[in-house]
């Protein structure tokens, strides 16, 4: 059999997997859930693992934790906070659209305790990252208590999903829903009451830092999930380096979860601000549809 170049090229193309958006849900004013087809990842992903998504050619590679997966439907749930141009482009996608690339599952799976009681603390979009951890713990028979929070009622996400796995304490800054105050206020009480074997905390860096501020004196093991700037997600670029216990580690291959008591949060917070000016420029350019001149 002789093949023409065209036939061969077409055969090669059929191997490109289409990552179609199956459903899209607005979870809070700036948080969107996309359920995307990625069947292999849906089958093998474990709690704590992430994917890297690239919406189109010329788009950034964005690391996103796998919030949930449906192996039968072959889909994974991505929960995206729209903070800049790249995330804005992603959440603008509608069911039927597709993202160009998804690679994963990346990173280590969460180290789940086998018995006892776990406190899962989720701040903002971090609640979506806490969800698969709580799922994994629940599956093992660990007693799960979740504390989740947001600015006000409309910012609270994943409450219903977490309720299926154990007790949920909701906190809002303005008291419009659940108890008034930060997640750390509720955490402080629960930790003080005793019986917590481990804390899993995922959220903004100041929140995770504040949680560690509580657990360190209480002597409670604390796992945090870090989301530094990342490109390839396979250890190649070293952009995601974080200092853990005075050692440089790569969040993509050594993490993304680390012993919270050892993490240098100040450095992490600082490194996350590296491209702030660029992000603003990208947003401004996208909004004004300005003359896109290559930066020089």
């Amino acid at each position: 059999m002789t093949w023409t170049s065209r036939q061969r090229a077409e055969t090669a193309r059929t191997f490109i997997v289409m990552h179609t958006i199956l459903t899209r849900q607005q979870l809070s004013p700036n948080v969107t859930r996309l359920d995307v087809r990625a069947s292999r990842i849906a089958q093998i992903r474990q709690p704590g693992q992430f994917v890297i998504v690239r919406r189109a050619d010329d788009s950034e590679r964005i690391p996103l934790t796998i919030a949930d997966a449906d192996p039968t439907a072959g889909s994974i749930a991505l929960v995206i906070q729209s903070v800049g141009k790249s995330t804005g482009d992603l959440v603008a996608l509608q069911p039927g659209d597709a993202v160009r690339d998804i690679v994963g599952p990346l990173g280590h799976a969460t180290e789940l305790i086998a018995t006892g009681r776990a406190l899962c603390i989720g701040g903002g979009v971090g609640t979506a990252v806490v969800h698969p951890i709580a799922q994994g713990l629940h599956r093992r028979g660990v007693k799960v208590t979740s504390i989740i929070g947001g600015r006000s009622k409309e910012w609270v996400i994943f409450e219903r999903e977490l309720q299926q796995l154990g007790e949920v304490v909701v906190c809002t800054d303005d008291g419009s829903y659940g108890r008034k105050g930060f997640v750390t206020d509720a955490a402080k009480e629960i930790i003080a009451a005793g019986g917590v074997d481990i804390v899993y905390a995922v959220g903004p860096v100041p929140m995770m830092r504040a949680v560690v501020g509580l657990t360190r004196p209480a002597g409670v093991a604390t796992i945090v999930s870090l989301n530094p700037v990342m490109i390839d997600g396979t250890g190649m670029c070293g952009g995601c380096r974080v200092t853990v216990g005075n050692e440089t580690r790569f969040a993509c291959v050594d993490g993304p979860e680390f012993d919270g008591l050892q993490v240098n949060f100040e450095e992490l917070q600082d490194r996350l601000s590296t491209y702030r000016e660029f992000e603003q420029r990208a947003l401004a350019c996208a909004k004004d549809a300005c003359q896109l001149e290559p930066a020089r």
Binding site: A9, A12, R100, G104, C237, F278, L292
Partner: protein
């Protein structure tokens, strides 16, 4: 058609110069520096080859290209035959013609180098490869014919077309679409195997697309070479990380053989204070942002890169040269190489050092960084360095640099790029614990390229540590032959 020329006439022709983009202009654009030979220059240069009876240049080539043969065909004006001959030996000639260190491989062996200058084999390889790329239909039309009838046979001395029919379609998985993986894929497909390459990134090419800059190796050329392989039947699955999406044992179950060529991977840092300040990059990250993610086109592309005014690049290899020349093109007023030995010890290719000098790159030789300095906002402001002097030779045979006490000084800069090497990425090997590794985490193979696991082969940087494109290709070629032998036996 000109008649045959005499050796004396050949000897009278001097080495032709590669036309280059003007150094002032190119220091601020990403277009290719070397422009390539014209037909006239190519034929003239090809005539310089003396057609030695015992050609040493072939032995200097890690993929054993039959150099005199393709040069002879070229000199006769039979450029299509030259292309066919070259492609039979080398799956990626457009790439090697650009990035191979010919001066230490084929050209250093050329007898004409003894008195005068060697034949410009690299330039001619590039010329013929570029002709092949732009005359694909012409070449495709003759492929079937030449495989049956031509004298241009491979060392395996079996007509490939027949082989493809005879061999059952056994499946081979290749991990990584860099130079080693692509070469092995090309060789195995021609031998009739069903080849699937798994690539971790979103684009095939490995270091050829994320590492080597556009001005040295245009991405269009890589894409076309990859496409040629795809058209010959090679399948490439991007976004697949072996060690995460699938493991080597899983591949071993699904395929008759596996070739691991996933590259070196993890960047090595200097391990000095201040290395996590904003403005410090590994060369891998810096080059990946610019090359793979097209950060030089920001905001047209979404990925940014910090554009320093004064960029210090630590290291003296090809990756350091690529980084420093990239910095210059991104608009750095000063782009400086910081290297702990002298110009004589620079591991980078002579041509790259030369090009860098022409483009106004500064060099701080006998200098080693001891600390990255930053301001109160944790942005890089400088590199604290110490002067070195050369001492007695070390294990590598090169003079060992020793610090000169009290010679510390501060080199002002706002971006630091660390280009001091890479180490083996444990992602794949950690999920295949049976695989034997050396103390550095590199996979151990026998002469044929086979690992301790039957049917699992490895090559390129994951075996050698950081090496060159052509050595990785040589491994791919050798492993392909060994895999063929292995699969014929089983």
């Amino acid at each position: 058609m000109p008649g045959k020329i005499t050796t004396k006439q050949r000897l009278q022709i001097g080495r032709q110069k590669m036309p280059e983009q003007n150094s002032a202009a190119r220091a601020s654009n990403f277009e290719e520096v070397n422009l390539g030979f014209t037909e006239q220059l190519a034929l003239l240069e090809a005539d310089r080859c003396l057609q030695c009876k015992d050609p040493r240049c072939i032995k200097g080539c890690p993929v054993s290209v039959n150099i005199p043969r393709f040069l002879d065909l070229l000199a006769q004006g039979r450029v299509a035959d030259a292309a066919q001959s070259l492609l039979d030996d080398n799956a990626l000639p457009g790439i090697t013609g650009r990035v191979c260190p010919q001066e230490t491989q084929c050209e250093v062996e050329c007898v004409r180098g003894a008195k005068g200058q060697p034949v410009g084999i690299g330039y001619l390889e590039r010329y013929v490869a570029d002709w092949a790329r732009t005359h694909r239909d012409e070449l495709a039309a003759r492929t079937t014919l030449s495989a049956r009838t031509s004298q241009l046979k491979r060392p395996a001395d079996r007509p490939l077309a027949d082989l493809a029919v005879r061999t059952p379609r056994k499946g081979v998985a290749i991990v990584g679409s860099g130079p080693s993986g692509l070469t092995a894929a090309g060789e195995l497909t021609r031998r009739g195997y069903d080849v699937t390459i798994y690539e971790a990134l979103h684009k095939p090419g490995g270091v050829l697309v994320y590492g080597i800059p556009e001005f040295r190796l245009p991405k269009k050329i890589v894409a076309q070479e990859v496409q040629r392989l795809q058209e010959s039947g090679v399948k490439i699955e991007c976004n697949t990380v072996i060690g995460r999406t699938y493991t080597v044992p899983e591949l071993r179950e699904r395929f008759d053989a596996v070739f691991i060529a996933n590259g070196a991977g993890l960047p090595v840092f200097m391990n000095v204070p201040g290395e996590n300040l904003k403005g410090v990059y590994s060369a891998n990250e810096y080059l990946t942002r610019v090359n793979l993610m097209a950060a030089w086109q920001f905001p047209r592309s979404d990925t940014p890169v910090l554009q320093g005014r004064r960029v210090a690049v630590v290291g003296g290899g090809n990756v350091a040269m690529d980084s420093v020349r990239t910095a210059k093109r991104l608009g750095a007023r000063e782009a400086i190489i910081v290297y702990r030995r002298t110009r004589n010890e620079l591991p980078a290719r002579t041509e790259e050092v030369h090009h860098a000098e022409e483009e106004g790159i500064a060099f701080e030789f006998l200098t080693a960084p001891v600390e990255v300095l930053g301001n109160d906002k944790r942005w890089v402001t400088g590199l604290k360095c110490i002067r070195m002097k050369l001492g007695a030779p070390d294990a590598s045979g090169r003079a060992r640099p020793e610090p000169v006490a009290g010679s510390e000084f501060v080199l002002a800069c706002d971006v630091v790029v660390v280009a001091i090497g890479t180490r083996a990425n444990p992602l794949l090997t950690a999920t295949c614990p049976e695989l034997k590794l050396n103390k550095y985490g590199n996979i151990i193979v026998d002469e044929s390229g086979m690992t301790n696991l039957p049917g699992v082969f490895a090559g390129g940087d994951i075996v050698r540590g950081a090496a060159t494109v052509i050595l990785a290709m040589g491994d791919g070629k050798r492993a392909a032959a060994a895999m063929d032998e292995f699969l014929t036996k089983v």
